[in-house]
């Protein structure tokens, strides 16, 4: 059931948020990746190889630990709290809630290019070169798949955490997570696939390609989908809370495809974006309400509502090039990080939704 929309509806197209609602917390180094984790925790991968983590309510007080002799190339929230990071030093770690490091892979030659985690399945996936490995939530190795033909560029679990998908040149490979046993299923499509998402209803896998297109597969019957018209590679996806819409970056407009029923074939996407000049770099869907936020190359953050024209400006132009965007679990705060080491926090108290009611807070 789609959650009901709160009082936000009347405001969204009327005005912009006052600047006072945006706070900035500069870090000691540039930020290459952002992840929000369980219990209002936040981690940022710094460009000097450290990872700073702590309470998302106090971004000024994160504590940084040395992790990579190089820099993180992939960061994700852990399956049972904490964070997972893989770097160009070949090392992959699980950073525990208390800051303790569990090493998943020691430093080595092959870069770790992708990590993913599933709370439902309690698993961590780490791609090192062409090899996928699975670990349990404590960091114990559960399985290692034979190498795929080319380097793995992206990973995603299905919503139940029972299957894991890896994108690479020539398509996607799907494994059953239990020990990575059995013959993997190939979802072939020519070209280089560079990003990956698995729909929250489990029915679709979608990649972004080097050719600036999206390719989708309906898993049950293998039907292929192609979504084109992007100005850049699509590297950021977000699924709406009601599981119907998939929003993506990669053009000056946030493009959202309607996946209800058979999928987006033959349906034009919903779009929003105030500038034709700067590309959207990241999208993030509100955890409860049918809205999606996006940040752009010029540092803007905008928010739009599916099926409704227009957008509201949440953060003005400015700051470094965005490197991450994420909502707090309650939908009351939006975080954006930049190459220049800024963590911007947008206060969206109006959009805060309690898990129990699923409704927007009344003013």
């Amino acid at each position: 059931m789609p959650p009901e929309f709160g009082t936000f509806e009347d405001e969204i197209y009327a005005d912009r948020l006052p600047a006072s609602r945006v706070d900035c917390f500069p870090q000691a180094a540039g930020i290459v990746a952002l992840a929000l984790g369980a219990s209002d925790t936040l981690a940022v991968a710094l460009d000097d190889g450290r990872i700073a983590a702590g309470s998302a309510l106090a971004p000024a007080e994160l504590s940084a630990v040395e992790v990579h002799d190089g820099v993180s190339q992939a960061l994700a929230a852990g399956p049972k709290g904490g964070f997972v990071s893989g770097g160009d030093d070949g090392r992959a770690v699980l950073l525990g809630p208390g800051g303790a490091l569990t090493e998943l892979l020691p430093a080595g030659k092959a870069w770790v290019g992708a990590v993913a985690a599933t709370a439902a399945g309690g698993l961590i996936a780490v791609a090192s070169g062409k090899v996928l490995r699975l670990f349990d939530a404590a960091g114990t190795l559960q399985g290692e798949a034979p190498p795929v033909a080319t380097t793995i560029t992206a990973l995603a679990f299905n919503p139940k955490g029972k299957r894991v998908a890896a994108a690479h040149y020539g398509g996607v490979t799907l494994w059953y997570a239990a020990g990575l046993a059995g013959t993997p299923k190939a979802l072939p499509w020519k070209g280089s696939h560079v990003s990956l998402t698995w729909s929250p209803d489990g029915r679709f896998v979608v990649t972004g390609t080097q050719d600036k297109e999206l390719h989708g597969w309906r898993i049950d019957d293998g039907v292929d989908m192609r979504m084109s018209g992007y100005a850049a590679k699509v590297k950021s996806f977000a699924w709406s809370a009601d599981e119907r819409w998939m929003a993506c970056a990669g053009s000056p407009y946030v493009t959202s495809w309607d996946f209800i029923g058979k999928g987006p074939m033959g349906r034009p996407p919903h779009q929003f974006g105030a500038s034709e000049e700067f590309l959207a770099t990241h999208v993030a869907a509100h955890p409860k309400l049918p809205v999606v936020a996006a940040c752009f190359e010029d540092g803007r953050i905008e928010m739009g509502r599916f099926m409704v024209e227009g957008q509201v400006l949440l953060k003005e132009v400015g700051g470094g090039l965005p490197t991450g965007l994420a909502w707090s679990a309650d939908g009351g705060r939006l975080y954006m990080t930049t190459e220049d080491g800024e963590i911007f926090v947008v206060d969206l108290e109006d959009l805060k939704v309690s898990a129990a009611s699923g409704k927007g807070k009344r003013r």
Partner: protein, 320 residues
Amino acid sequence: MDRVPVTVLTGYLGAGKTTLLNRILTEQHGKRYAVVVNEFGEIGIDNDLVVETDEEVFEMNNGCICCTVRGDLIRILTGLMRRKGRFDAILIETTGLADPAPVAQTFFVDEDVQAKAKLDAVVTVVDARNIEARLADSKEAREQIAFADVILLNKTDLATAEDLDRIEGLIRAVNTSAEIHRTRNSVIDLDKVLDRGAFDLDRILAFEPQFLREGHVHSHNDDIASISLTAVEPLDENKFNRWISSILQSKGADILRSKGILSFVNQDDQFVFQGVHMLMDGDYRRPWAADDPRISRIVFIGRNLDVPALKAGFEACRAA
């Protein structure tokens, strides 16, 4: 932010690539380099940041049959850029058998690479003792010379002056526009190799001496040759654009590199372009100097070049 310059070193194993690489790395220039290698050769590389990569040549689905890119380089270059401020330039050492086209095309095609890095020059090291044999038997060796902006004719101490002149003639037959330097043990002033801006539209004029020499030479054994054409009368921009697009569309698989400086009618600025196979980049740059003869010049390096047709096509671009 300034884009990080990337120098590509090509050449057969044993030609002296790694020696040149180590010279670059150890000379006191105060610059920090990241080095990308395909394989560790017999000589070690004296640098903190060396990334080893497997060549992953990927086809694009953009309709250009010859459009291939190096997927591994896209990943490594964009990945290295996350280490902001920790190096000033990147050196890519390719294997002796590597095709330079996907490397060069990577810089034309991938927007993330373009945003943060720029191809500075393709530097090809050749061994004076055996380059004649390689030119005769190796497609890769010919392509590495065809793609080069700078050629080190190395190991000159092991060849006679007559040999070297003959070899230079053979190299010129393949590539009229590269700078050729004769070296021993890859000893060369690094400013002749680095920071060349050979792929900068602004810097194409730097190659003027060779560039101006009109003509073409067929190598006796094969296929790859250079042709340079000039036109004294101003050209019509629309005619030229139509012509160059159709040439690169239809013959781009055979045309390895193209570059030109053009004088269009009613334009005070020079139009500069360069291409790799079917991909092309062009723009108006600086104004023609008052004492500069406004001569349009264009160079094609490729196979099966139909010289009369190219000449006729180029001449037909003259403004009426």
